[in-house]
Structure formats: C-alpha cells, structure tokens
Symmetry: C2
Subunit: 483 residues, 2 copies
C-alpha cells in the first residue's frame, strides 16, 4: 500500500519536506481526513505512542499520581470562573451547542482544550484535610484547540493526545517541589526512554500559561534550528483554588486554599520529536523501547521452505517477548531493505536460499546502519546484545548533536549569527520579568527568535550586561526560533 521509493530529500537540507515524506511514506498518519486540522493516526504511529503512554504512565503512577478519566466536555460556566484562563483559551475552544436535529442543549459545552476547570471543581469535593495532600492525579486524554496557525501532523493539530497531571499541595513550597519532580519525570521519560535531549526552562513573565504564577517547559530542538515546546508544567495562581473553592483543613483545623500544579506531556507531539530527532536521510529510527515492531524478517525470494524457517525464527524471538514481523511480500529484497529502514525497525534479519544453506543470516541494525552475518544459533543472543545498547546509541547521537547546537552570544551580532545558523543562543539578559519584554521584542523582530527562559535544571548566574539594552543582566537566558 505504501509508496516505497524512499525519502527523496536530505533531512538537513529540506527538513520540512523530509518530515512530510516520512509521515506519509512510513504510514504514520493520513492527512486526508475531511476535517481541517484533524488527522488519522495509523498503526505504525499508534503502536509506538501506546508504548510511550505505557512508560509515561508507569513513571507517573510510581510517583503517586492516580489515573482518572474526566468527561471530554466542560460547561461554559466553569471556564468563566478563572478570568485569565478564559481569556487565554476562549479563542481556541470548540463549542458543542446542539444535539439531534438542531435542538439546543441546556448549556454551551467546550471540547476540553485542557482540563483545569474540570478537575478542580471535583478536587473541592474530594480534598478535606492536610492528610489528603499532596493530591496527585492524571488523565490520559485527547484535547481540542481551534488552531489558527498552520497545522502539521503530530506537531500541531486541532486534536491531540496527551497526559495531563493535576496536583493539589498544602504550600507553595510543596508545589514547587512538584515542578522539580515534573522536570525529573521529563528527564526519566523523554530523555532516558524516548532518547530526546531537551532543556528545561522557566518561561519569562510574558510567556506564561493563562492563569499560571510560574510556567516551566522543556524545549526540544529540530534540525532547522527551531525548538518545540514539549511538556510544560505550571505553578498556578491560587485564583484557581479560589474559583473552585478547593480548600483543606490544616493541622490547626483552619481552612486553607491549596496550591495547584499541572503538567502536560503531549504524547502525539512528543512523537513528532521522536521522528525528527532520531530520523535520518533514510527515514525513521525508532528507539527500541518504543518501536512499533522490533524485528522484521525480510525473506529474500520467498518460498515454502524459507517461510517455514522464517516462522520458526519468529517463534523463537516471540518466546523471548520480542515483537517480530515477517516480510514475505512480492517486493524485491532491495525494496524490502528500503522499506523497513524507512519504517525505522531496529533490526532486520535477512533470510534467503544462500542464508539457509550457509546457516548464517544477515543482521542489519538501524542504530549504526551496520550489517553482519550471524549463525542461526547465535541470532537471539546477538539481537539481545543489540537491544541492550540500541537506545544508548540513539540517545548519545542525539545528545551530541544537541549539545553542539548551544552557542553563547556576547552581542547582538553573534546573537543574530547564532540564530541564523540554527542554534539555541545563550545570553546575558536584563530581566525575565516584564521589564525585559522590550528587549525580547527587539530580538523577536530582528531574529524571529524568542527568549525561551532561564534553566531550571542548572543554576546559572549572570555576570555581565544584557546584550540588547546593556543594562545589568539579571538572567542567563536561552533564545531560539520555535514552532
């Protein structure tokens, strides 16, 4: 069913076209669904994203988050309770207003763009005492946003698949601890499982989530020098707790408002980074842990005997809990190699008459693009060895590229040069409070780049002056173009 001609452009040269081709040719998503900004996720991406969900949820549950399923619909009145939230989100809300044959419903209902206003009203029923805190929840869900910017599969669609965590805490200090925990979760999952390097920033005052006191987020870098915001985490203003009356009795039996944090890893968008960060000119390269299929057995000129052998090998691997597919199609061997490299399967086993006679099979690994001959009896052992080091290899390659893309700037000129060459530029900056906004706007206008914020994962102190206004710097910031 797929067009097997392979990717016709180089990833570094024409990243945008490379991305479009990979998604179509590897059958990750079909954009021909007839509602603008919505797409159909196909098995090859769903199988991987399901694994991504599994790891993320496992880590969240281990850290004490309990899973919920909230309704997809939120009544308009809930939105109205927190004013900055409604101002921020209203333009993006899809509204359900009728049912059946044009009959109006009792109250306008929002397709959730995010679920703060659904969760916190329920918190007010469930949280009673300091003993209930921290109250750590999450849900796996889809959210809906009427994007006006151009949509791109996985990167930005009007419906996306995410996890949102919502936690209530007794104090602001506890809430900040949760932010650090969220940052560590991002590291444990996005970096250590999915193999994605990132920096974790506190966003400047002018780039906060609607209703947040402080906003933090991970930025992942694309080869075109643009960053993508991946999980963000917010220390919300107490206005949310007040709007939904979420209080607890402290040890002195006094009523206190809780402090709320929320964290939103968008699996379908993180999957975009998996495609982009690990892919190469031939197509996808899946980390082992989240590969839709781990091993493909490419049968060269299939016949009955070869297929029997292929089935036997498949069973051997399945006994060891590997996921395996056999390619016994009419495609030529060359086409099969092309196709499965494009699909990003970690291991390809090659089996034909020659291999059968010699009792040695071809073994191709996608992390290093290396082929070897392996005796049949050693096959499982060898694949196990590769599985052990596969993700480490992909992650190290990604880390090396990422670290090479951070560039300090001492003045406007080197800032511009850094941004132009597709880097994340590190710079002294006057202020990430509102006073700094003018300098940020100058940067945006001159370089189309944005002040992404200050690092939360490292303590970095400014020493010099802002490279824009030359006032004394109060922050070391990172500047990059973005999606």
């Amino acid at each position: 069913m797929a067009d097997n001609l392979g990717i016709t452009v180089k990833k570094e040269k024409d990243f945008s076209e490379w991305y479009t081709q990979v998604i179509q040719k590897a059958e990750l998503a079909d954009i021909r669904y007839n509602v603008k900004g919505f797409l159909v996720f196909q098995p090859w991406s769903v199988l991987s994203m399901e694994k991504m969900y599994k790891y993320l949820e496992k880590v969240l549950q281990k850290k004490g988050h309990k899973p919920y399923w909230y309704p997809t619909l939120i009544p308009e009145r809930n939105f109205k309770l927190e004013s900055s939230h409604i101002a921020g989100f209203t333009p993006e809300v899809f509204w359900v207003t009728s049912h059946g044959d044009n009959q109006p419903i009792e109250e306008k209902l929002a397709l959730r763009p995010t679920s703060e206003t659904a969760f916190y009203q329920m918190f007010s029923y469930w949280i009673r005492s300091y003993r209930d805190l921290p109250f750590k929840t999450y849900q796996r869900a889809q959210v809906f946003r009427y994007e006006t910017k151009a949509t791109r599969p996985f990167l930005r669609s009007r419906e996306f698949h995410w996890v949102e965590t919502h936690c209530a805490h007794a104090t602001k200090e506890d809430a900040m601890k949760q932010v650090y925990e969220d940052m560590n979760t991002t590291k444990e999952v996005l970096h250590d499982i999915y193999g994605l390097p990132f920096m974790f920033f506190e966003r400047p005052e002018w780039d906060k989530f609607p209703g947040a006191e402080r906003t933090f987020a991970a930025d992942v870098l694309n080869p075109d020098g643009k960053v993508i915001q991946q999980p963000s985490t917010h220390l919300l203003k107490q206005s949310f707790a007040k709007a939904f009356n979420v209080t607890y009795k402290d040890k002195e039996e006094k009523d206190q408002f809780v402090w709320i944090t929320c964290y939103g890893p968008a699996i379908s968008r993180i999957f975009a980074s998996v495609i982009i960060v690990h892919g190469d000119d031939k197509g996808l390269r899946f980390p082992w842990k989240i590969a839709p299929v781990e091993i493909v057995i490419a049968v060269i000129k299939p016949n009955e005997e070869l297929l029997k052998k292929a089935e036997k090998i498949k069973e051997k691997f399945q006994e060891q809990d590997f996921s395996v597919e056999i390619d016994a199609t009419e495609r030529t061997f060359g086409e099969k190699c092309f196709f499965w490299e494009l699909k990003g399967v970690p291991i390809r086993i090659e089996l034909g008459e020659k291999e059968l006679k010699e009792n040695k099979l071809g073994l191709f690994r996608r992390d290093l693009s290396k082929r070897e001959k392996v005796e049949e009896k050693d096959l499982v052992k060898e694949v196990k060895n590769i599985a052990q080091e596969f993700d480490k290899n992909l992650t190290e390659q990604a880390d090396a590229l990422f670290n090479n893309k951070i560039s300090p700037a001492k003045d406007k000129k080197s800032l511009k040069a850094g941004i132009e060459s597709g880097k994340i530029v590190k710079s002294e900056f006057c202020s990430v409070a509102n006073e700094g906004r003018t300098c940020a706007e100058w940067i945006e206008k001159e370089t189309q780049a944005f002040v992404r914020g200050t690092r939360l994962d490292e303590t970095e102190k400014p020493k010099g002056n802002c490279i824009i206004c030359e006032k004394k710097a109060t922050a070391l910031v990172y500047i990059a173009r973005s999606y």
Copy 2:
C-alpha cells in the same frame, strides 16, 4: 475520604440501591460532575478498566487487528451518506457548531456516536486489491450519545469508553467468519478473562443496528433479571461500502465492493457487568487479572516496626510483579476489613503485633471469603496458589448463577412467570424476520420483556409452535427484560 460504613442493602433484594452504593462507596465514579449524563471515572475503576483494555487489545492485535486513532469529530456530510445510519443516530448526536467567541465553524461536526462514517472514507484510500483483505482495524476511543433514557454510571452515560473494530472483507462469507471470530473474542475476553457469562444472539430483524444487514450481540444478565447488551457485532449492508466507495480489485482485476463488519465492546459498560456479576453484599469482588490492586496489607494498630515489616512484605510481592498497597491509616482493623472487602481487593494480608510475634499473618481471600493464618515464609507461595485459582472460582460462581437463570416456557403463562421471576426465557417463536414483530410486541406489552434473538454460539432448532401466535415456529428465541 470514603464513607466506610459499607453497603447497607442486600444485592439480591435491592439491586438498584446496591449498585448506587457500591459505585459511590468504593469510589468508582463521581456523578457530581456538572454536565448531565457525564461522570468522572475515579482511579479504582480506571486502573481496572485499563487492564480490561490491555487484555482486549492484546487479543485483537493477535487476531490481526491494527490500532488506529481517528478524530473525535465527524463532519455532518459523512453521516448523510448512509441513510439508515443517519436516521438511527441523528437523535443522539452532539454537534459542534462554533468556536472561540461564537464564531461559526465551516461545517457542523458530530461528536462521534460511533465511527463507521469516519473509518470507511479512509478505507477507500487504503484498500486497493484483494491482497489487502481482510483489512482489520480497531480503535480505542470515547463515543458520545445524547441519551434520553435515564443515565446510570457505567451502564448508560452520554460519554463512554469503548473499542470499535472495523473490518473490510472480500465476500459476505468472509464477513460472517469475522462475526464468528468476534463471538470468540467475546468469549476469550469477557468470559475467560473478565469472568462474565453471556449468551451470544443474532438480533431479530426489528432490533438491528442502523445500516446493518445482520446484528449480533452478547447479553449479560443482572440479578434483577434484566440483561445488558454487551459487545455487538454487525454485518453491515453494502450500502456503507457503496456510500464511501470502498472497492478492491479481485483476482480478475474487476472492481468489487467490500463487505464490512464492525464490533463494539464498550469497556466502561462491561465494567458495569464486572461490578454486578461478581459483587456481593459486602461490595466489589474483582477478578485477579483486572483488579486495580491485587493485595492490600492491612496493618493493625500501625507503629514503626509494623510499617517496616509491611514495607518488606510489599517489596517481596512487588519483586514477583504483584501490585500491593499498605493500609496504615488510622482506621480500626474492623474498618479496614470492611473497606477493602467493599473495594474488592482479591487478597488482604493482616499484620499486627500478634502476627509479628507469632510470625504468622492473616490472609483473607475475597473469592471464597475465607481467612487463614500463614507463616511469613510461605506467604508469597500461598498467594501465588490463590492467584492461580481465584478467577476460576469467581467465573464458576458466575456461570452457575447464570445457567440457573435460563428457563424454558411452553406457553404464555410460563413465559410471564419466567420473566417475573427474573429469568431469561427460552421459547419457540414464529419468526425473527419482520413477520414475528407482532408477537414480539405482544410480549413487550404484556411482560416488558424483549425477544433478544437466536443463539449464534449454539445451533438450536425449533420443533413446535410459537407460544404467542401458535403458528409453526421457525426460531428458538430468548426473551428477557433489558436495560
């Protein structure tokens, strides 16, 4: 947080109240969410339903179904393409008509009540040749129906969580094979994993899915004598293939329309049957495989030493992949027993000063409601033994009850008596084609029961006459009240 007083009514005596109390007191779902017919699923149900999904999806994937994620929204024009489908579903559809600040959207969009009209337009892009068939897909999703009947948590809500499979076949015969496969899936998952007895019927002509040529469904029985329709599977009319132009080239290169089947196990509704079928007067009883937590360690008068011991025991079990919780709350031991039996945890381990001294712990199993003393060193072994037979015990108990509830009727009187005593009544019947409708309506009027159909899982031939109109019977049907 929970009201721990236990269930105050008997399941058999006041089933409806029993059901309401279990859901609230075991913290399965909260009905206080402020949109009518929508509810919040709490961790204790979500953890179980996630396991239910896992088993179901594993079986589907093993049988060759590939996972997709389709958009939640379906444009109105898709609905209009198949006339019986739009007639059947329109009354239940929620419509998205605007975005942002009351701005109309380009086209009315339905919150999917089911996804035939989303899937099949994509099938037309993907299916080319007989080699692509059968084309077997599924998605895990929520669906939305503006129910006008009274809603009840899990049983009937306006949003529910399900799996829908959609398959395209070359011939009608192949499609019918799929129906049988779906029936077997229902057995393998609903009965063999979730422990739910059911009968699998072909529905009478007048009770078919909108757009189906034939409709089949599993019925599960409640203690109040009403059946719940669980997964249904449909052999659709070719009108769907024609409406969306889903064709394939056969071996002679001739264009043919496909035959489509779909199958819809609603996890959140099947969960209702799990509650109802396995529960007892004390509350829930989870089958081991789908228990949110398998083991609770109830610490009697907790102190530091006991908690340390409890942690050690927990770790031992976790090493063997059991899920364990420690109850070290201030509740009395009696309250803890009450609470965890209500919650339906399969195993409770009891640990207090006495147990510590004697090195023998209390071990309570929920399947047989039995308590024994077990030496600490034998604990894991003993729990493993119980885990082995736990689900078999629950399933056998459920099967025995179910089989006892099938009652043959030879005339109108015994039909009425059977229905009144809460049974599924088996009877000779004139016809499940439209000719039989009058008799079915008589039954509905006189007994508030419905002709559920003829068995697909057993071949049963009629010998006598219809017990209503006394014409020669052409079918053996089952009659029951229903939700």
